[in-house]
Amino acid sequence: MQSVTTVVIGAGHSGLAASRLLAEQAIDHVVLERGEVATSWRTQRWDSLRLLTPNWMNQLPGLSYDGPDPDGFLTAPEVVELVSGYAALSPVLTGTTVTSVQPDGVGFRVATDGGAWSARTVVVAAGLTRGVVPPVASALPGGITSLHAIDYKRPDQLPEGGVLVVGASSSGVQIAEELQASGRPVTLATGEHVRLPRRYRDRDILGWMDTVGILGERWDEVDDLVRARSLPSLQLIGGDRTIDLNSLQDQGVRLAGRLGGIQGDVLQLAGSLPNVCTLADLKLNRLLATIDAFAGGTGERSEPTRVPDAPLTLDLRSGEIRSVVWATGIKPDLSWLDVPTYDASGRVKHDGGVSPWPGLYFLGLPVLRRRRSTYLAGAAADAIDIVAELRGHLARRATERWSVAQRSA
């Protein structure tokens, strides 16, 4: 069994940011990666996807954007290129899948398909690699093609004909737009969602949210952290244009309520569409008012969401829906983490990325230490904080061992 001070699990932007900082602090470590560097950016993104954050925001420790297009948005292959270049200085073991992490004496035993490691500390930066579907998905009749957004690449994966896209998150609205443009009539099942204009008062909305302090809001200052961590992703697309329920309706997408049930061949759609649209419009206007209060003056308000007379049922026997895309969220896959630190709802416990189990840390989870944590652009600040926590833990442990040695002597 090899021994190391810190095992970092995952060679994505978060794990590599941690690695860069660990190296700076001369903390010996290894980064274990199941595939290649930036695996999920290679395998779990659709072809047309661009980052939601503009280039100037995407800083990593020791890496700032100095290219010609600070307001541009990277494609997934460009992110792979960026992260791969960044990985060059890190001790990454690719093709090494972690099969279990167990507490072990002074630290952890990390088992992989390429041998085991003993580590005093573990940083889990394994990403959000598991697509989740609502329980109702299991009732979908056979014969309907069903795909999670995490496995979606391009429209021709789906048969011709109508598509139900479930979820009006960032991925849901983007995929709905692309499928509609491909000639497949889209119905978008819409629950709670977060509406944003891409630009406001001649500036990128995420730039504003950064300036007024929203993206930097700390996890321990957020009103309702559980809610903040489970919010659907922002209705944004990487680029200069706005995508929202109005623009989708302009392109012919049919809106419906949240998918509430499936009885036999009938999809049941909730009658709560007017309220989820009202909630999103009110929330949007509160955000714009916050920006106005900061900047002075008043910007242009978006047109309220147009709420159509939406269908409450869709009969699959009519043939109008041939496939379903589940844009219903992605979560971490921590099935290999054998450390008893789960809450009553099965979510892994952590306080700003610091596990109650000493020596265990997390990176790259939504609103981990700040709202920005959800984005690549949050990795730098989070990694700095977490590596500082980890270093403090090692120092405390060293002091304890010293005291024990003194007493023994």
Binding site: E192, Q263, G271, V276, A344
Partner: protein, 188 residues
Amino acid sequence: MTETTATIDNGVNVEALLGARGAITEDPAFGQFTWRATNSWVNGTHSRGEVERFYGFSDEQAHSKKFTFDADHPLQFAAEDHGATPVEIVLVALGGCLTGGVASIAQQRGIQLRSVTATIEADHDLRGILGADPDVPNRFSAVRVDYTIDADASPEDVQALVAQSQKRSAVFDLLTNPTAVTVKVASI
């Protein structure tokens, strides 16, 4: 903000609600409730519902007294009109749920309410329940709720109260989403 919260009073004990939420988050079993009503036929379309006991907070519970609800149909249906129709009782439940939510959320947000009134209407095509047209469902075709609220808050904040109340409402969810219902019968 804290001062505002301390001086407003909508008669809602928000601390107790937040305490219950905290306890349920720690121990989900604590939050598993079973609501119960009984129903007995009286005569004609008249029946009487009673509500007294329920299960929750990991124990049997009871209201402070028994509540009774007569359900019947109006004279226009050649019935004796001993009570509201069951569908009207559903509207009463929706209004009760949403208004209770408005008061609770207003308290939590530090908004003093002076008056809250609502009109709840449902459109209903009776061809469904009378079997006159198999394509018409039994249920309402639409439900409308109109609130008039006098409160120390901006129109946007009042609108947000009502929107949040819908989001957290059990009866709103029951009406807008499907629920699995099983009905058993015993002969004696």
